[in-house]
Symmetry: C2
Subunit: 322 residues, 2 copies
Amino acid sequence: MKAFIINTTHEYPVKISVPFPVLKENEVYLKLTASSLNHRDLWITKGLYPGIRIGAIMGSDGCGMIDDKAYIINPGLDWGELQSHQSSAFRVLGVPDDGTFGQFIAINKKYLFPKPEHLSHAEAASLPLAGVTAFRALIKKACVCPGDKVLITGIGGGVALFAMQFALAMGCYVVVSSSNDLKIAEAINLGANAGYLYTNPDWAKNLIADIGGVDIIIDGACGDGFEKLIKVCNPGGRIVFYGATAGKIENINPQSIFWRQISIMGTTMGSQEDFSEMVDFVNNHKISPMIYKTLDFEEIAKGFEIMESGSQFGKIVFSYTD
Amino acid sequence: MKAFIINTTHEYPVKISVPFPVLKENEVYLKLTASSLNHRDLWITKGLYPGIRIGAIMGSDGCGMIDDKAYIINPGLDWGELQSHQSSAFRVLGVPDDGTFGQFIAINKKYLFPKPEHLSHAEAASLPLAGVTAFRALIKKACVCPGDKVLITGIGGGVALFAMQFALAMGCYVVVSSSNDLKIAEAINLGANAGYLYTNPDWAKNLIADIGGVDIIIDGACGDGFEKLIKVCNPGGRIVFYGATAGKIENINPQSIFWRQISIMGTTMGSQEDFSEMVDFVNNHKISPMIYKTLDFEEIAKGFEIMESGSQFGKIVFSYTD
């Protein structure tokens, strides 16, 4: 069968013919119909991810068929029994385990969930990794409530957009930030109440002047800008981060955290239970993932180029027409 | 009556004669029998605390009598209705409100709780501020469970010692840190399972080699050493800090936080509910505060000197013999 593998850690995945996978215990064959791209995939092609196995089929997100039934895959493998954190056996699907950028995948059937009926295959393939990450961050860690003011940073990325959609579905007042005016306009068009250009040094001051502050922040950047997230966080508020594209956290004044009873929580991916609840939430609220571009399976390298440019607003999806 | 007031922000409180306080609505007179010192008092005498009112009677912690009944005071005034954080009206007793370093105090009766019977007046006066801070940090924020491994930094301080005693009462495995070998030995003598000199650059490595890591950390220092707290924190762990004697937090690697699902929470003082539950906990577990030195009411300046030297292990208490 055809598949895109990680060949070296300094190029995009390459398409080769690989043997048809052999089933292990409890595994079934899923004929993939769509997959989507995550930042994780890009980092793997740059060698910036632990546990890279050269030759592995890439791809964490997938939708596919068994006979006439459609499924999506929970890409969080062997999370373990605890809800608080993943076990040491945990892996994200797609390097080192063979992933979704192939025509078929052999996957333990416990990771298969029926495709939400209101979603196309392309939309469903956009959901798993970013959806479960956003769900755990917003619902399980930040414990969002209707009416909360929620700031989602870096709007346009997969996790950020799901966090925005989930928060809007919960009845929150949602503000977003970006370095790109157009992405802010697009988020407001989708229902966000306001947006701030974080490249404006006064953005935090402006947010406080406009709405006082926010109760919950979902961030994927960290870095120098983290200090301002604390400034705009209301007393009793929660800052949850799932990534660190802007690097280390510096120059934090602890007094502004403890006196205002703020909690800062790291999160990554989610448990099997988180995934199941996320799918229920998406079904109940009829949430449709934002797709930026649907490409053909053959055009996977082009997807990586778009992601590397940072221009996308929504998920980059690959449709397996064959 | 006699009282110690803050006269300038560059000297210890001075004893003067002040008018007997006038009762406001819902207030009663408590004849003070003992009080204790907190770091907050020292900071006020250095001008390092917001909202200082020159001329106010100092002192947050107190025990006293109404007729033949003994009470302690919850020093957290007007916390408000929410458990998550204090209202903007919140003040800690003793500057700007007149505090416990006087012969009498006029206090709203809702802040009075019966003195735990197993405690002397001096012991009971040690409990309020440090006790409620430790209780909220350990029980309400970190959600400690029996069997958890708990690290208490800076052992010897009031909050740290209560956190240690509460964690031991909960059936935790408790390790402590200090810059002072003798304080570590004393903590182990009181029931702590192990201790580490944080002045040893290898302390974190040694802790990990010894016990793997800890589930909960209660810290009052922050500063450069905070990075090592993250290193020794187990996946799913909680780091709760109530102070920042070592200053700003720098050089934090977010990946080590989000991948390991760690939460970092600021906390200060506690609600009326926290205080009430803390007193119940102390009664149920028959916990006796650690007193370092009991001085006479007249010797309040001497208490400040001891606290400034940092040599104390436990609370500095003033007994009002008259």
